[in-house]
Symmetry: C2
Subunit: 362 residues, 2 copies
């Protein structure tokens, strides 16, 4: 059981400048807990040559009050309720806020996503797939957007369980017309948010929200999506995580089908029926049946740091991203030392982390 002090320190640590999910986990691994990490932060940042101030305690207190007021609670990465599949993703959110029944996170989940301006036929398909999959015991995960997302949640609520992952804080309804649906999901299913309460849904929050949707599910089903749409990004994230990627085909004469058809050409499994999805996901054991280009990212390995690792590797870095593995090779030193140096640079605001374990100077 997490002490109130440590829970507070964790929230404060994650809300502090330049601390992303990867740095947060590395700091916890390095210093044992968030309280110790917070204590060490000014010194770490100082080595990178810039003054540093962690998140203000008052702001964190206000966040915790707002979370409670919204009827929400915190879910930490090491809670028994924290979903195992999500925990295995690179950059998984170390802290989530939720409303509703976190117990449904234990059930097998499938994500259903798609276009906001979907055709009536696709909306019907999304509802039918979601209803059938929820009835079969799957939790249907989606993003509460207009169109396919909303239909997926509605269908799933009629058949069983659903999880809504929102890009805003847990206390903000977005899109506004889905306010009632969001309340219903919080009451009958589970509502999840990575951003702290009061956060408006900004454009940059949507890709990180999409990665949670893909990360929660054994597979992602795209129902209708234009080329280059956000739903396709979710599908590609699922592929990169080594999850199943499925798509519902459509006529080439309808441009709204082109995204899904292209996904299938790229190796996603064509899903015609609920049975197709169940057949694929029932056999899911971490190795996807879809041939979608997946880079099969596993969990970040836990890093054990040697005391006194203080080498500077800033001179090896440029603004062009480079793989940390390559950096370790080029540095001629050991991995924990390089990770520690990167941590210092990051907290000092001089490092940017990119997908695929790559880093660059800010």
């Amino acid at each position: 059981m997490l002490s109130q002090e440590e829970a507070f320190a964790r929230i404060r640590l994650l809300r502090s400048p330049n601390i992303g999910p990867v740095t947060y986990m590395q700091l916890l691994a390095r210093f044992g807990d968030a309280q110790a990490a917070l204590h060490a932060l000014p010194d770490l940042a100082g080595r990178a040559g810039r003054p540093y101030e962690a998140a203000a305690e008052k702001r964190v207190q206000a966040e915790i009050v707002a979370t409670r007021k919204a009827g929400a609670r915190y879910l930490f990465h090491d809670s028994p309720d924290y979903p195992g599949l999500l925990a295995h993703c690179e950059g998984a959110p170390p802290i989530l806020t939720f409303r509703g029944d976190s117990g449904i996170l234990a059930r097998p989940a499938v994500a259903i996503v798609g276009a906001r301006n979907a055709s009536a036929a696709a909306v019907r398909l999304a509802r039918e797939f979601a209803y059938g999959l929820a009835s079969a015991g799957f939790t249907v995960v989606s993003g509460l957007a207009r169109g396919i997302d909303g239909a997926a949640h509605t269908g799933a609520l009629a058949g069983g369980a659903t999880i809504g992952v929102i890009a805003s804080g847990i206390d903000i309804a977005y899109p506004p017309e889905h306010g009632a649906l969001q309340e219903r999901i919080a009451a009958e299913g589970l509502l999840l948010a990575e951003q702290p309460p009061g956060t408006e849904p900004l454009a940059r929050h949507f890709p990180t929200r999409n990665r949670i949707i893909a990360g929660l599910a054994a597979g992602t089903l795209v129902v209708e999506a234009a080329p280059k749409s956000g739903s396709l990004i979710t599908a590609r994230l699922a592929g990169e995580m080594g999850r199943e990627v499925m798509a519902v085909p459509g006529s080439p004469l309808d441009p709204r089908s082109h995204g899904c058809n292209q996904l299938i050409r790229d190796g996603a499994v064509l899903a015609q029926s609920v049975e197709d999805v169940i057949e694929l996901l029932s056999g899911f054991d971490g190795v996807p049946g879809s041939r979608f280009q997946s880079e099969g990212k596993g969990a970040e390995p836990q890093v054990r740091l040697e005391e006194g690792a203080e080498i500077s590797i800033a001179h090896l870095l440029t603004t062009a991203p480079i793989a940390v593995d390559e950096l370790i090779r080029q540095s001629g030193t050991n991995a924990p030392s390089v990770q520690m140096a990167l941590l210092e640079l990051e907290i000092g605001g001089r490092l940017v982390r990119h997908a695929g374990g790559r880093v660059s100077l800010a």
Copy 2:
């Protein structure tokens, strides 16, 4: 250049009882030419214990007159015009009749097939795919049926070359409402028939016609097809021949799409556009990019028979089909001797040849 006598003998040999394409080719290989094979036939058949009479000369003469009257000519398996891809198929027709420009057989070909009761959208797609592919230099092969076939021919004629393969004799228009289209194909493209003139299109002629369509083309594109339809058989034949299998997807809400969607689930390449087809077929070198279950049948190996091979293997056979390879192993003798024995049984009407090089007692 084939002598008139030998051409006559070839036609007579192929029209004789119990002589299918495989037996025909084996007899030609065994006896050097059709005249010698015809001479040997009664004796061969006698060994199987039944009297034998080759096709009547009068009937063959009448056929040749009818072929000429229809404005058609014969195409033999060893003619320079005989299409190379078709020649490599198991049981390729050793003699075809044709009207039109046999020169277009030399161009790369793509088959476009689909449902007779196709949707308006699918008919439009078939026409557009055919027009685009013909314009790009492909010969579009189809079967002149209502629906997708007719649209494919029409689109191809507007853009370039087309080949119509009919299940009847070359002098019979089927279906009747495509009589004008058939004449146009004979005038501007190429019309092919395996059956002799005067043959009505019987149900059993369609699968063999479908195998010619698949065999002429580097790949077969199915535009719209119900599950278990003839178009799917053509696609599966193409897959078994090691050719590309492509399908145009459609909404799961339209049952007419289910055949194509299932083909894609089984490994056919999803084709959304003319460019998708060209991209796939331009790289075709005998090894298909589609993962459609193909058994990669090549040409039947030429068999050299030893003189005096007279063993009886009838006792090894039952009415259940068995692979000739297995028969050779079980017989304890060599392949040419077994082939010769099978030839005798077949001509005697006691053997049936099945797909995949299997045989059984009649």
